[in-house]
């Protein structure tokens, strides 16, 4: 097909589309989505469709005084984190199932940790195989993978099962007075902080892996990590990890054989000055 005829076809399509605005919408089922057109087309190519923009939220309190200097893990904060994530996910499942979705993709995760409470916000688009019936809350998967990555995953023979998360908050133990004086003005590793980070990391990653196993997954992809001292308690460090739990459903992993491509994205479109006239 020549470039000119392709342009002519596109222009005719746009004219038809604009003229069709005079006609009232044909469908009665309204769909809402925060997916890009690329993501929607990827889903469509896989036989899936967007259904509804869905959301889940939870906030759990952290008991007073837990951030005071102590030893070991601040288990009350980790517990609040786990509960908030779980409740927000449960509400997302419920909204998605009520909308007819079988899963939620492209979930935006916002997590806020304050000294007194932890809030978790999840926003994404419920999706389903085209024309599929409803499923129960417990059968809905939740994933922070984009529509494109979801399509890649399915093509490779895998399926997303849900979000796995783990968090831990640990006190960095005080140095002795002698150690503090000896280390003053020195270039020296503060092993109490390093060790606290390692402890938090071990606990958080173990919890994330445990939640993946609970979902019967064989792995977690796109793991994100947040770590560092707490802004409101400099003597405590936090480590949080989350990602999408996946499982191989095909007999074996389908190897992807990428082909070389010259991008036809915006920068490569030929500028046609003649059309300005």
């Amino acid at each position: 097909m020549s470039g000119t005829s392709a342009h002519d076809e596109l222009r005719a399509l746009v004219r038809d589309a604009v003229n069709a605005l005079a006609v009232a919408p044909a469908t009665s089922e309204v769909r809402t989505s925060d997916l890009s057109i690329d993501e929607e087309l990827n889903l469509h190519a896989m036989g899936w469709e967007a259904v509804e923009l869905v959301s889940g939220y939870s906030v759990f309190s952290i008991p007073m005084g837990v951030w005071s200097w102590g030893l070991g893990e601040i288990s009350a904060a980790a517990e609040a984190h786990a509960k908030a994530f779980s409740a927000a996910t449960r509400r997302l499942h419920h909204e998605a199932a009520a909308a007819g979705g079988h899963g939620v993709v492209g979930v935006h995760i916002e997590r806020s940790v304050f000294s007194t409470h932890i809030a978790v916000s999840l926003i994404g688009t419920a999706v389903r195989p085209v024309g599929a019936g409803r499923v129960g809350d417990e059968h809905v998967f939740v994933s922070d993978l984009s529509g494109r990555d979801f399509a890649r995953l399915v093509l490779a023979g895998w399926e997303p099962l849900g979000l796995a998360t783990g968090a831990s908050f640990v006190y960095a133990p005080r140095r002795t007075i002698g150690a503090a004086i000896a280390q003053q003005s020195q270039n020296v590793e503060l092993t109490n902080f390093t060790e606290a980070i390692y402890t938090a990391r071990e606990l958080a990653m173990e919890r994330m892996q445990r939640s993946a196993i609970d979902l019967h997954g064989s792995g977690v992809v796109e793991v994100k990590v947040l770590e560092g001292p707490m802004s409101f308690a400099a003597h405590a460090v936090g480590f949080t990890a989350w990602g999408t739990v996946v499982r191989l459903v095909a007999g074996e992993h389908h190897r992807m054989r990428p082909s070389l491509a010259v991008s036809l994205d915006d920068p490569a479109i030929v500028f046609d000055a003649a059309t300005l006239g």
Binding site: L10, R11, L13, V14, R15, D16, V18, A20, L21, A22, A24, P25, T27, V30, R31, T32, S33, D34, L35, S36, I37, E40, N42, H44, A45, M46, S55, Y57, V59, S61, I62, P63, M64, G65, A76, A84, A87, T116, H117, S121, I123, R148, R152, L155, M256, R257, P258, S259, L260, A261, V262, S263, D265, D266, I269, V270, F271, D272, T275, L276
Partner: protein, 287 residues
């Protein structure tokens, strides 16, 4: 300065499009005719904020209201005997009025230019000096569809460039940008206040362990429900595509906060069934 239909040919056109988006417009047969803009400075009244009636806060004007009663049987002092979540409908209406006025003014400019649509819409809101005044600014590039009869009213979309091309090719036509806000005010009752303040084992708190703060969860959930419902009411049977939902907490003082949700997106209409697409193929881009 926006060109008028009379002097458009002599003055050329202006556009907010990138060169790539401009090229994509030409490929689609969309001819840019001008950068069109609409403004509106809207004062958001606060006549119902923070008022009380018989010791109770005043609820929303016809919107969602939910009351919370102290379970302790305490009276007076600093103990919060009551709490309320209420939808600030007057703020939602003021925001919607300001946004719609700016959008309509941008559309009017496009109409005067003989445009069929406005692509690459951007909208911003800025707080002006003086309390409670928001300036809405909506702008985009007006386009004419070549070889097509005069338009009735211009369509609008946040999309431009290749994403707009793909939208048409997938069988959708843009109808309008859609934007809505929902505002839920939270006036905390004693339990919420203690939990937000680090609810430990005190005589007022429900538990010494971590518990869900129900009043905040309700406010957040309702704010999200309301904004999606308001956006849906603007769709009239069409779909909402490439939406963005933002939710922020604004704490005015301890135990008094507002959950503000904003939803923007593209109202699109299917004009033909989408064809079956080939299975996506992984590629390595030679860029």
């Amino acid at each position: 300065m926006v060109a008028t239909p009379d002097d458009g040919a002599a003055a050329g056109f202006s556009s907010g499009l990138s060169v790539a988006e401009f090229a994509a417009c030409l490929a689609m047969g969309l001819e840019p005719v001008g950068l069109v803009q609409g403004f509106c400075a809207m004062q958001i009244g606060n006549y119902a904020m923070g008022l009380t009636q018989m010791g109770q806060p005043v609820g929303g004007q016809g919107g969602y209201v939910e009351n919370y009663q102290c379970p302790h049987g305490m009276v007076g002092g600093e103990h919060r005997m009551w709490g309320q979540n209420y939808e600030q409908t007057w703020m939602e209406q003021a925001w919607s009025g300001g946004f719609t006025a700016a959008l309509d003014r941008m559309r009017d400019e496009a109409t005067r230019l003989g445009a069929h649509g406005v692509v690459g819409v951007l909208d911003t809101e800025t707080s002006l000096a003086g309390a409670g005044v928001i300036e809405f600014h909506v702008r985009g590039t007006a386009v004419r569809v070549t070889s097509t009869s005069s338009p009735s009213a211009p369509w609008t979309t946040y999309l431009a460039g290749q994403r707009l091309v793909k939208l048409f090719e997938s069988g959708f036509v843009p109808v309008s940008v859609v934007a809505a806000v929902a505002s839920v005010r939270v006036y905390a009752y004693c339990i919420t206040e203690y939990l937000m303040g680090g609810g430990g084992l005190t005589m007022w708190s429900p538990s010494s362990s971590s518990v869900e703060i129900e009043q905040l969860v309700r406010a957040q959930s309702l704010s999200r429900d309301i904004v999606r419902s308001l956006a849906r009411s603007q769709l009239h049977g069409d779909d909402l595509h490439a939406a963005r939902l933002d939710v922020v907490d604004r704490e005015h003082e301890r135990g008094d906060l507002e959950v503000w949700s904003t939803l923007r997106g593209n109202r699109v209409r299917r004009f033909r069934a989408i064809e079956a697409l080939p299975t996506p193929q992984p590629t390595v881009r030679l860029t």
